[in-house]
């Protein structure tokens, strides 16, 4: 105790506040550099090479990218990614609808809410297996339903026309549950006075929802947008489980196409795979940048 008073403050005492954040950051940041930042740079580097993962890398410049431009699978994947992105956004209004339906206080409603949320908690592998089975021709429940509605037998997952939509439907199930929970939390925190005031003024139904409720739900909508857009572009599990990109590559998406090229029985074309990954990365960076810019402006206002 007396030592601190008598002797001049040491280096540590003087600089503690400056050094402390870096010491706290060091372990986490180091892991992040090793496993995330460096691999991104490496992937970009590898994408300029021809490499089977074992031998020497051969520099081919933009060769992989030029080949991509001539690859039909690439365009199929790109097209399917757009379909995923657009249709996946349906989970936002769907989640809002379910949340509005469940935002009541009746007995047991809490249990209902958690059970509605269930699909999000289980693995996409399980979701994929479930839906594959429901789509099974002849006996699957959905196949029966489709047959009953259209009078036609449709093998959804074996039909190039429908396969991507069939997989997206499976993905919408957990994603809607996710958006629902975001909106339920948002609805819980709505300013009741504003709602009552609007009701006094005679607003109700859709008008009230659109002009009073939705603006207040904007933060929830933003998060729902972020997770849905990212989720749609990341779609890998369901494609892999339900069709492995088939039939004839028609349900291919960039994430699975990359995996198939780089690491499957179709070959170990690491360079080509890396080039596909870079394209996907750039597409996602557009959205990530938009989100970050918005978060940054929130941060500045806070």
């Amino acid at each position: 105790m007396t030592k601190a008073v008598s002797s001049p403050p040491g280096f540590w005492t003087k600089n503690q506040q400056k050094l402390a954040p870096w010491l706290f950051l060091a372990p986490g940041f180091l892991m992040f550099i090793i496993y995330v930042l460096v691999p991104i740079v490496q992937s970009i580097w590898i994408s300029f090479h021809d490499w089977d993962g074992l031998g020497e890398k051969v520099w081919i410049g933009l060769g992989n990218y030029v080949e991509l431009l001539d690859d039909d699978s690439f365009y199929t994947s790109l097209k399917n990614n757009v379909i995923w992105l657009v249709l996946y956004l349906l989970s936002i209004p769907a989640g809002l609808a379910v949340a509005l339906f469940l935002n009541q206080t009746v007995t047991g409603i809490r249990l209902y809410k958690s059970l509605f949320f269930f699909p999000f908690v289980i693995s996409q592998v399980v979701v994929g297996l479930m839906f594959t089975w429901f789509y099974a021709p002849d006996f699957g429940l959905f196949s029966k339903l489709i047959e009953w509605l259209t009078g036609e037998q449709v093998a959804v997952l074996a039909d190039e026309r429908f396969v991507t939509y069939g997989i997206i439907a499976a993905g919408l199930w957990p994603q809607t549950a996710y958006c629902m929970i975001l909106y339920l939390t948002g609805l819980n925190n709505i300013n009741p006075e504003q709602v009552e005031a609007a009701r006094m003024d005679g607003a109700k139904g859709m008008k009230l929802l659109w002009f009073v409720i939705l603006p207040q739900l904007a933060p929830a909508t933003f998060i729902a947008m972020v997770v849905t857009v990212i989720g749609s572009l990341r779609s890998f599990d369901l494609v892999s489980i339900m069709t492995a990109g088939g039939p004839y590559g028609s349900s291919q998406v960039l994430s699975y196409f990359m995996y198939e090229q780089a690491l499957s029985e179709y070959g170990f074309r690491m360079g080509y795979g890396a080039a596909i990954a870079v394209v996907l990365f750039l597409i996602m960076m557009v959205f990530i940048t938009l989100f970050i810019v918005r978060m940054l402006s929130q941060e500045r206002n806070a």
């Binding site: 503690q16 506040q17 400056k18 402390a20 954040p21 706290f24 950051l25 372990p27 986490g28 940041f29 892991m31 992040f32 496993y35 995330v36 930042l37 460096v38 490496q42 992937s43 009541q104 206080t105 958690s114 509605f116 269930f118 699909p119 908690v121 289980i122 693995s123 996409q124 592998v125 297996l129 479930m130 089975w133 429940l141 929970i181 975001l182 948002g186 709505i190 709602v195 904007a218 933060p219 929830a220 998060i223 972020v226 990341r234 890998f236 599990d237 892999s240 489980i241 994430s255 990359m258 780089a262 690491l263 795979g273 890396a274 990954a277 996602m284 990530i288 970050i292 978060m295 940054l296």
Partner: protein, 283 residues
């Protein structure tokens, strides 16, 4: 409250709501209910074409015993725990530190670092796949649970840092300031003042990371090949290939694989939702 409380509606609407609610739930969970029923269905039903009807008997015991006896699913589940639990501990511990650093100190590059963690959390896995697999191979960690753990810890730290940093920002800063005036060291401020207040955030992140990592399928296929280290998601998929048309076994296996995160969710529901809806209320 919006929509208008059902108690204010006519008795007819109230009754209708009470009837529609369970119906909607059954419809919503139909795939899950179908799988649950099939998992206790006798194999003879499937042979007879009774896929979605009433089961002719209860074969739950046989099916679940068969799954554990005839397949390595027990081992897969164990592997999943071996991957998930260390990841939860590692990622939460690291992000307590990084979150604290980014929330409490003002220094050059603070926001830049923070948004780097946020962005890292959103990037596609495929951009990391080739180098991470190569690195894991070189380190001799390919096909081990440790290889998976290290990657998951690093990746989940991004999301966890976002969460922790925002949580600590919400704590009263005066607490830290007054401790500093008293001459308490930075480490002790973290350890004895901030960390005890972070319990709810730690709980929320633990359940979330548990679920994310348990349900991971992509890295389980990229970093693991053999049975001895395979987590249950990848294991279930390979079993699905062996159990062609044995839907009662596939279903039982699916239920087993889905159970731990579901149990986790039910036990820690409040924390789970608090974690998932972070930022959905203000902004």
């Amino acid at each position: 409250m919006f929509p208008t409380p059902i108690q204010k509606a006519s008795p007819f609407v109230q009754t209708a709501y009470k009837i529609v609610l369970p119906l909607a739930l059954v419809l919503w969970l139909l795939p899950l209910i179908g799988v649950a029923i099939t998992s206790v269905r006798p194999a003879s039903d499937l042979a007879a074409g009774n896929y979605f009807g009433i089961p002719s008997g209860f074969a739950g015991l046989e099916n679940y015993t068969a799954v554990f006896r005839d397949s390595p699913i027990g081992l897969y589940i164990l592997n999943s725990f071996k991957v998930t639990i260390p990841t939860v501990i590692g990622a939460v511990a690291l992000s307590c530190l990084t979150g604290f650093a980014l929330a409490v100190y003002r220094f050059k590059g603070n926001l830049l670092l923070f948004f780097m963690f946020v962005a890292g959390n959103f990037i596609p896995f495929q951009i990391l796949m080739v180098p991470v697999r190569d690195m894991t191979l070189r380190a001799g960690l390919y096909d081990t649970t440790l290889g998976l753990v290290l990657f998951h810890v690093a990746f989940q730290t991004g999301f966890c840092t976002l969460f922790m940093r925002n949580f600590i920002k919400g704590l009263p800063f005066a607490l830290i300031e007054s401790a500093r005036v008293e001459g308490v060291s930075e480490w002790r401020i973290f350890r004895y003042i901030v960390l005890p207040l972070m319990r709810p955030a730690i709980a929320a992140l633990s359940v979330l990371v548990f679920t994310f990592v348990w349900n991971d399928y992509f890295w389980a296929t990229v970093l693991v090949q053999g049975q001895h280290a395979m987590p249950v998601t990848a294991g279930l998929y390979s079993l699905n290939g062996q159990w062609v048309a044995a839907w009662h076994l596939v279903s039982a296996g699916s239920i087993v694989a889905a159970l731990p995160p579901v149990a986790m969710f039910f036990l820690m529901q409040r924390h789970f939702i608090a974690g998932l809806t972070l930022g959905a209320t203000k902004g």
